[in-house]
């Protein structure tokens, strides 16, 4: 009998194996959908580092996604022979640098002030992307050609092949999410949770709130930017849709629906959000309405998000496991509200 505390592992390994064989089993449309889910999963996880763990809700997280997207897009366009991994690294770096600049000013503030200052920075970057037409082509955007990935021993792997792109994205995303997970396990990651719970007390204990929040903000920027770069690689298009305010709003939607209270909540949220959008937009063009209603239902009746359904007593009962009390891991994040 599967006991409560290892069924998530069994489920996780099962899904992991399933993910490896997806390209064999699914049609091309669904592979495309999976890639999109992966990208948004990393983006949502990076957002939840700030929100679920750090207790900071930014309105402008899309700025970092967009910076990564534009960096990658410009490199694909102007230096097409640059190594793909190096491009991702450059995008990550650009995300880090912009997150450091934005974070330097933002993390001193709290609540609505923090949210709105990050939004202000996003609006600058958006205006830049929109109006600096010589470089970004404004709202026309710019198509890009997916470069091939050159690996020693394997030769050149074409990204135009959807299966190759699938595995490439999967590997990068898994590494990225793993990095976020490991970051939270470090003492530094724990002190981020400390800041959320009681900043004053943490500072009496000798932690430095500014440095801690600044670090997590910068760290989160790296992964948002990588997600942005992969988004450009995937859509073969660099445009203002990667940096506009809807991108920031999407992060809030995904994390809230999935559940900010668990590390994998945002992944679930991204999967649900993307798949649901894909499905419902084939039925009706007013999918935002349905998503909005769903969002409100989650806020009012399911505050832990979808992931809390998996954690509920009911499922533990179904699976026949005994009730295990909180396991004392202090890296667990809390409910968002």
């Amino acid at each position: 009998m599967i006991s409560y505390w290892n069924w998530p592992k069994v489920l996780g390994v099962g899904i992991g194996i399933l993910l490896l064989f997806f390209p064999k089993m699914l049609s091309e449309t669904h592979i495309n959908l999976s890639i999109e889910i992966f990208i948004f999963a990393l983006y949502a996880v990076s957002f939840n580092l700030l929100w679920g763990y750090g207790g900071m809700l930014p309105f402008g997280h899309g700025a970092l996604f967009g910076v990564g997207a534009y960096t990658a897009g410009l490199i694909f366009n102007h230096i097409p022979h640059m190594h793909l991994l190096l491009t991702l690294l450059m995008a990550a770096l650009s995300g880090l640098v912009s997150a450091m600049v934005i974070g330097f000013f933002c993390v001193r503030l709290k609540g609505a002030y923090f949210a709105l200052l990050s939004l202000a920075f996003q609006m600058f970057l958006f205006a830049l992307a929109w109006k600096w037409r010589d470089v970004t082509r404004g709202d026309d955007g710019m198509g890009i050609v997916r470069p091939s990935l050159h690996l020693p021993g394997l030769g050149s792997i074409s990204m135009m092949n959807i299966n190759n792109l699938y595995y490439f994205t999967l590997i990068i995303i898994v590494l990225g999410i793993l990095a976020c997970y490991l970051f939270l396990r470090t003492p530094l990651g724990n002190s981020v949770v400390c800041m959320r719970e009681n900043e004053l007390r943490a500072s009496f204990l000798g932690y430095r709130p500014f440095m801690t929040k600044f670090t997590v903000f910068s760290f989160s920027g790296i992964f948002a930017a990588i997600a942005g770069a992969l988004f450009v690689l995937f859509t073969e298009f660099m445009g203002t849709n990667s940096i506009d305010i809807n991108m920031s709003m999407a992060a809030i939607f995904m994390v809230l629906i999935g559940g900010a209270g668990h590390f994998l909540g945002p992944v679930l949220g991204a999967a649900f959000y993307t798949a649901f959008q894909d499905w419902i937009s084939s039925l009706t063009k007013h999918w935002w309405l349905i998503m909005g209603i769903f969002f409100i239902v989650v806020i009012l009746y399911l505050q832990g998000g979808l992931i809390s359904l998996l954690q509920s007593e009911r499922i533990r009962f179904w699976l026949g496991g005994q009730n295990k009390s909180a396991n004392g891991k202090n890296t667990e994040s809390r409910k968002p509200v």
Binding site: L57, F105, R108, L109, K110, A112, Y113, A115, L116, L117, L119, A120, F121, M123, F124, A127, K131, I245, M249, I252, L256, H286, W288, L289, M291, G292, I293, F295, I296, I299, L300, Q303, P336, V337
Partner: protein
């Protein structure tokens, strides 16, 4: 007078008009924040709703003035229903839940507007009485804008009188500064919340009606107004009515002259201003220190 000064004067009047319009929306936004500590994202949707209702009423009844009478109460009732039905439910889960709720509502209202009215901008014909132009200091100026200016000023005056001279206005101001204390002294604070939320929504709806003939009704007007409101409450200070007034006029003039001098990057200025205020003085011009 030289033509250059004429243009400047013209832009200054434009800015004043737009600034007062902004204030009609931002005042409700800032009061709700001051009172309930909720950043009410849905507030901007009320403004949009006002403009669209004005379109429909003008179209069907052929009378712009009717929309003046019908729209604000209708939007106000909607605001009250939202406050009573949804916001109060989320209240026990904290401010974050309330804020996220208004965020979701904003998207729902925007989407409903697109479903009902489509996504093409809809021109609204203004009242015939003010359709012409008036010659003002050598140039012609649309009458309607002068009407907007005068009307907004009148609303502003009434609002200030209500807030400063009446008992309920006094209670609202007291609750903004310390709602727990007012509650403890025996005032029905949840009722105050409802009144302010509803009145704010009605005022936003009214602003939408006024703006409709001049801006026409378009689906992203809610988002545009929301961004302006953010900037205004930050600059003026969260919860401060006077701050909101000064900041609205500043933003109105800034946009007006920004378009004149640097049309490409006009949008950046207000966010630049907001960022500077947040960095140097996060409590805004008139806000209380944290």
């Amino acid at each position: 007078m030289s033509p250059l000064i004429d243009i400047y004067l013209m832009q200054a009047i434009h800015g004043l008009t737009y600034g007062l319009l902004l204030f009609l929306v931002a005042s409700g936004f800032t009061l709700v924040f001051g009172l309930m500590n909720v950043l009410n994202i849905a507030h901007a949707a009320f403004y949009m709703l006002g403009a669209y209702l004005a379109y429909t009423i003008t179209l069907h009844m052929n009378n712009f003035w009717l929309s003046f009478l019908i729209t604000p109460p209708a939007v106000g009732v909607l605001g009250v229903l939202i406050e009573r039905g949804l916001l109060r439910k989320a209240h026990k889960s904290g401010h974050m839940a309330e804020f996220l709720l208004t965020f979701g509502l904003f998207f729902i209202l925007c989407q409903l507007v697109i479903i009902q009215w489509g996504s093409v901008p809809l021109p609204v014909s203004g009242p015939a009485l003010f359709s012409g132009k008036i010659s003002l200091m050598g140039t012609s100026y649309p009458m309607y804008r002068l009407f907007m200016l005068g009307f907004s000023l009148a609303v502003l005056l009434v609002m200030v009188l209500v807030l400063v001279r009446t008992r309920i206005g006094m209670l609202i101001r007291a609750a903004v500064s310390d709602s727990d204390m007012v509650d403890a002294l025996g005032t029905n604070v949840p009722f105050l919340f409802m009144v302010v939320f509803g009145a704010g929504a009605a005022l936003a709806g009214l602003a939408g009606v006024i703006a409709a003939p001049f801006n026409s009704a378009y689906p992203s007007m809610g988002l545009d107004m929301l961004l302006d409101c953010f900037v205004i409450v930050v600059i003026g200070g969260f919860g401060s009515l006077w701050g909101a007034l000064i900041a609205s006029l500043m933003i109105g003039e800034l946009q007006s002259f920004g378009v004149l001098w640097v049309p490409r990057f006009a949008i950046v200025f207000q966010f630049l201003l907001m960022a500077i205020v947040l960095i140097i003085r996060p409590s805004g011009l008139f806000g209380e220190k944290e």
